[in-house]
């Protein structure tokens, strides 16, 4: 029920973002995000709404933490 999917915003029209999910082009409501958004950003979509902006830097850091954790016994 709390499913959220990361999707890339292709275009922004005021409080709406246009995205493609699978082969379906759809609108995503952006009202819940205070972040500055631009086309190309990824957002987490739930029930037709963007509920969080996906932070690319944090995503890369998570992957490198995982690799570090495996390599040198560090579990953050």
């Amino acid at each position: 029920m709390c499913l959220g999917i990361p999707v890339r915003i292709e275009e922004i029209q005021r409080e709406k973002g246009l995205v493609t999910l699978g082969n379906v082009r759809m609108e995503v409501n952006l009202t819940l995000l205070a972040d500055d958004l631009a086309a190309g950003d990824y957002v987490l979509v739930h029930a037709g709404f963007a509920i969080a902006k996906v932070d690319e830097r944090e995503a890369r850091e998570t992957i490198s933490l995982i690799k570090g954790m495996i390599a040198d016994e560090v579990c953050r």
């Binding site: 819940l32 029930a47 709404f49 509920i51 998570t62 992957i63």
Partner: protein, 359 residues
């Protein structure tokens, strides 16, 4: 980066499993995943068979559809019997049994019940059917409630006067606290719900540290969950009990302040009944007085009725992690996904439904 494939890397997963094995050092550890989406992700990723046996994963009360009480369903069914009423609902609610009927059965009997993906679709149905009254079944955890708050504001803005909400929202932290306070629960740590946490942040879970329970807010891909388990084991080893965030690409410590503000503009915390768990103080959201004209309970003068639980159903104990589905006399016999008896079988994310499909 697409944020899915990168977190499904097979080799990294296998290395993390080895890491988990070494952190365990043979000792048994029980970890509860609170969220039904995690339960499904764990089964779908095959993680149960991948993890070393001393790790016991328990599924908690984490599906808002499962925990919706029969009394709520009875109200929805009663509304669907009324003239010129359309019920709009998330699809998961269709098969949830009330005392005598379900929305699926009502639809088969010709009542107007529409499945929507977003609450905004329900609002559009109201706009396109001005001679009908449209009631949206407003269920969900904190992930979903803000989307419904925006929809309520939008109804006002667009002057749509035939749109109503039947509030059945649930709040995760009070239910979690009630579980933890219940002396029966035997867990060593929690995998906390990732998407609820994008909204509420870290603070509402801090009480877990007082109970000495290590907790990690996790994402939903296999690497996320395995890293989260690693972080919990590390806390146990270092005798720490903190709330850590593994899913930092979408969860900020402070949550989503914008969404929380909108949520509190429209809704107020209230006591709420959970199927299988009973009433829990402060665990729900109701519309504020100022939005009474949207409240289906008020507009249709709906009465609260007592909820009925089926004899022999052990959902209450399953939701608390005390038993597993195979221990229930109904499981796989009188209780199957197409005709569920108890809370945990009703939604595809329920513990029993997941065990039935993958177990």
């Amino acid at each position: 980066m697409k944020y899915v494939d990168e977190f499904n890397d097979r080799n990294l997963c296998l290395s993390l499993v080895k890491k988990i094995d070494s952190l365990l050092g043979g000792s048994e550890v029980s970890i509860m995943e609170v969220c039904g989406t995690h339960t499904m992700a764990i089964f779908r990723g095959g993680l149960r068979s991948l993890l070393p046996p001393p790790i016991r994963l328990l599924s908690g009360p984490g599906c808002p559809v499962c925990v919706t009480p029969t009394s709520y369903l009875d109200k929805a069914v009663a509304l669907s019997e009324k003239e010129k009423v359309i019920i709009a609902t998330f699809g998961d609610m269709m098969r949830v049994p009330g005392s005598n009927s379900s929305l699926e059965k009502q639809k088969a009997a010709g009542k107007e019940i529409r499945v929507v993906y977003s609450p905004l679709e329900a609002l559009n149905i109201a706009e396109n059917n001005p001679d009908k009254k449209v009631v949206f079944l407003a269920v969900g955890f904190e992930t979903t409630s803000p989307t419904i708050a925006v929809t309520a504001i939008e109804a006002r803005k667009r002057g749509i006067l035939n749109f109503y909400l039947l509030s059945g929202h649930k709040r995760v932290p009070p239910a979690l606290e009630s579980l933890v306070r219940d002396g029966d629960l035997k867990v060593d740590g929690f995998i906390l719900p990732g998407h609820v946490s994008t909204i509420i942040g870290v603070k509402p879970y801090l009480f877990l540290a007082e109970y000495g329970l290590p907790s990690v807010i996790c994402g939903f891909e296999p690497l996320d969950i395995l890293q989260g388990i690693c972080m919990i084991l590390r806390q146990i080893k270092e005798e720490r009990a903190e709330v850590e965030v593994q899913y930092s690409r979408v969860v900020k410590n402070e949550g989503n302040a914008e969404a929380m503000a909108l949520l509190h503009d429209i809704f107020i915390e209230t006591d709420s009944e959970w199927r299988g768990l009973g009433p829990i103080a402060g665990s729900g959201y109701n519309l504020r007085k100022e939005y009474g004209d949207l409240d289906a309970n008020q507009v249709f003068s709906l009465m609260d009725t007592a909820s009925v639980e089926t004899d022999g159903c052990i959902c209450g104990q399953i939701l608390k992690g005390l038993k597993i589905p195979n221990q229930c006399p109904h499981f796989g016999k009188s209780c199957i996904p197409s005709s569920p008896v108890g809370a945990c079988m009703v939604s595809s994310e329920g513990t029993c439904a997941a065990y039935y499909k993958y177990g």
